[in-house]
Symmetry: C2
Subunit: 239 residues, 2 copies
DNA sequence: CGAAGCATTGAAGTGCGTCAACAATCGTGG
DNA sequence: CCACGATTGTTGACGCACTTCAATGCTTCG
């Protein structure tokens, strides 16, 4: 399961056997979390980072009205609150969307890891910067893309990221979100997210049944989305 | 001018005299940039980071239609492309909004700086994470807040950040953005940004004339915005 | 002083929200 | 196994926040 995390890193840079060992040894404990639970509350001081080994999680922020905005989705292999290593407490909640398996790396071990392996320090810094790049793409989506383009873009992003950890079988992948959660990613109401999804289906671009998303027409999907994966930094030109 | 940057850091953590010296010595060159110019193009490999010493800059992303979304505003003291140290090339442009003075810190010197002073490495990592927190707040704004609430929130954020570097005199500060640029931050059309601003004026919450923004009713402004500055991490509980 | 950019206004259109109902699915216990 | 209530997905009618288009005055600056 930690191997998913290593896949994510190795897509971006070389990780030596020794570094791999150090990472594996840093995981103090693994735990299962039930779905629909807030795993990390905003504003609470943390002393460990959470590695998502399996399942889906979301970063969310609420308004007083009760409206919730998801600011990023997380899948197996992601360090969901790596930024807590420097921020100490988060500005958002971390919620489980499915049952999850997570590993904990205490901040002191993170400190050790990054000081003993400066390369890993840069790699993890890099990874938090990729999260920021994803945020920026979402800002662009929410600010300028139409509902259908936004949804298409999200499907593209998830496809690219899931492929990386072997969770996509060709053009299909498991998307365990409800339409409510989907709408919370896209800044739409549930009703309109539903109609938007139907429009994508009607156009023959995707299907989504039994939590299984299938991309029928990848070209069309990427065109609607204006998708360009460079913001995900999926190669080793960097670092 | 570099002292603005030190203010930004010292608001979050202690910086020793030696660290300050090291930072000051890392600036290889300073330069003036004219307004309305793309200072850094997305996708281009960089070998130095840019410290904004004076003026305003914006991170922007474009769509094929020509629509532009600003994803973050930068003021004196900000490291505008610190993330290029790990990402190597950016996923967005960096545009000057006014005439700017910038300092360059070559990546090799950044490497030196962060390896010689691990504390500074964590501080700068922290600062890129604050940028990400700002992005998340903008995602929340664009996804869930109304136009008027979004604009009020932006005014609050800028006030807090400008105060930090002594660029706000009480409840007033220089806001050199055109309404077009304002609208590009907020995901609105210019026309509606104009009407939204007028509504804030009509309610007696702010005035904006000759590029001078004045907050007439801070309570009201923060209430409209649902503003809570904790996402800016403006204290030393962290790090 | 003229041209270009910027701010403002009005009228009309539309993408998405709201409200409300109903259907389908799912998990749970009898 | 069916009954059930709860959650999720779907649909229709209507309303509104924001967009679009187009015109006009206001600045700014060569």
């Amino acid at each position: 399961m930690i191997s998913d995390h290593l896949k994510v890193l190795r897509k971006r840079t070389e990780i030596s056997a020794e570094e791999e060992r150090a990472i594996r040894n840093s995981v103090a404990e693994t735990r299962r979390l039930p779905p629909d639970e807030i795993a990390v509350h905003s504003g609470v001081e943390l002393n460990s980072c959470m590695l998502l080994l399996d399942g889906w999680m979301a970063r969310c922020k609420d308004l007083a009205s009760g409206e919730r905005q998801i600011t990023e989705l997380h899948i197996a292999g992601d360090f969901v609150d790596l930024h807590s290593f420097t921020l100490k407490c988060l500005d958002h909640d971390l919620a489980t969307l499915t049952e999850c398996t997570v590993g904990f790396i205490p901040h002191e071990r993170m400190k050790d890891l990054t000081e003993r392996y400066p390369h890993l320090a840069r790699v993890y810094w890099f990874m938090t910067n990729v999260d920021a790049a994803i945020h920026r793409e979402w800002v662009l989506s929410l600010g300028q893309r139409s509902a259908i383009s936004r949804m298409a873009h999200l499907f593209c992003e998830l496809h690219a990221r899931l492929e990386l950890v072997g969770r996509a079988k060709g053009n299909t992948y498991l998307l365990p979100l409800t339409q409510r959660e989907l709408s919370e990613c896209l800044g739409l109401t549930v009703v309109h997210a539903n109609r938007t999804l139907q429009e994508l289906r009607r156009r023959g671009v995707v299907t989504l049944e039994n939590r299984q998303l299938t991309i029928l027409d990848e070209k069309a999907l990427e065109q609607v989305a204006e998708f360009d994966d460079s913001y995900l930094y999926l190669d080793r030109r960097h670092l």
